[in-house]
Symmetry: C2
Subunit: 306 residues, 2 copies
Amino acid sequence: METETNSSDYISSVIPGWFSEISPMWPGEAHSLKVEKILFQGKSDYQNVMVFQSSTYGKVLVLDGVIQLTERDECAYQEMITHLPLCSIVNPKKVLVIGGGDGGVLREVARHSSVEQIDICEIDKMVVDVSKKFFPDVAIGYEDPRVTLRVGDGVAFLKAVPEGTYDAIIVDSSDPIGPAQELFEKPFFESVAKALRPGGVVSTQAESIWLHMNIIEDIVANCRQIFKGSVNYAWTTVPTYPSGMIGFMLCSTEGPPVDFKHPVNPIDVDDSQRKSKPLKFYNSELHTAAFCLPSFAKKVIDSGAE
Amino acid sequence: METETNSSDYISSVIPGWFSEISPMWPGEAHSLKVEKILFQGKSDYQNVMVFQSSTYGKVLVLDGVIQLTERDECAYQEMITHLPLCSIVNPKKVLVIGGGDGGVLREVARHSSVEQIDICEIDKMVVDVSKKFFPDVAIGYEDPRVTLRVGDGVAFLKAVPEGTYDAIIVDSSDPIGPAQELFEKPFFESVAKALRPGGVVSTQAESIWLHMNIIEDIVANCRQIFKGSVNYAWTTVPTYPSGMIGFMLCSTEGPPVDFKHPVNPIDVDDSQRKSKPLKFYNSELHTAAFCLPSFAKKVIDSGAE
């Protein structure tokens, strides 16, 4: 699977010795990190995979030239995409993660003692293996005994899930160019809704309001048709993501109402008996704040609301 | 004042045709914007000044190699640094802006109909002139008849201000390397406190929690000694600032208490008779949300609280 590739395929160098993230998804701008050492380069069946040691952000995981996580700021994304849905319902028991092969979302799900079953469906085994090797503090999520890993296509996996199986589904995808494209489309959201119990919740990576209002508008419109409980957009700061932020769609299915803006299952105070490290980023105040949008985004996102 | 300078002084080497922001303030990372055309380059008594047309962020103002504003995202910074303080007190009448030579903060202050006097002290006339020429939608702030511009040193200006003059002071500075250094030091904050009326408010640019917790910790400690009303930290997303965000110190002097987290002077609903364009970014919900901090920052910032 792994092949030798010329490093110039990966280090699209704007600055010699630096990794620059250049993509048609964010034309005309690029974020660059200084590279100390390239630790891994491979090509899986799905994408190019690279890990490098950066000089100031720790180790960095890159898929198809796009930064997925850095050790320095991964806490923001992993904690928010996980606890925004799981702290919004009482006693989540069965949780499904689509994507998220690095294991960081698993690590966060595992903080919830009510959870009995954590399934993950990641399409790319190389991402799992590379994370276990180079990001032990992230991939530690796999060590929880409640976790079952399926390597395969999340879309196909979801279709086969019996109706109403999960309390929560977390879609930790890359951008809608490449292997994750279907995870932004309507049939996928329909499968998600079907796999959730009544009043179940989903959290999906939903791009940046500064860069992709058009994508977000489409996702919101799709979600409003499919999730009859509630449909919300939240966001968080992540310095190494384009525009320095990332958003999430938080939706619930018809059933017991879910008010995402007011968490009912707080996780702020860490159980002292727990082995895991304390939360670095998420807290209940920030949970509520994450749903407050700048006016230019609020206008577009609210415009489709009934 | 204006001198011819080799463009290589500014375009700190990248793919030809891109501007990269490289600074010891954020080692190991750089944000780059694609340059369509350099519109202005000059060297004032204080700093290098550049304006370029970017391919996707509109026109960009750069001082000493650091992006100060882009047409695409300037609304976030200007609206938040201005309305966080002015919406937190009833009937602000006299407002002082230190720095802010581009005029964007003036534009935002002018939205408040209670304001009778807007003084601005900017050290660098070239910034004012360049903004008026290239950023008319920002420098429009100067056209308000309540505005008086002083070109000079903000530190010296403040020392001469009679005690208790202003309801609000907004310190719109660049980073604490270069001409703005003194604006981050204790004697300056003492002058600010003296120039404010009892229960008056100050808003100052206060860097990023991802990059400069050590600077922020010092600023917070200084402010706690000097501002006996309240001391708070807020933040906002700004894609073209390092780490994609920027923070503000919001403090009040001893006197009528100011609860910054609950705005008492909302400006959401635009007065239809007003000539100015509607707010793009700020709203009351976002005002309150801006004070909610990630746990790693909250821990440090709250630790000095009485």
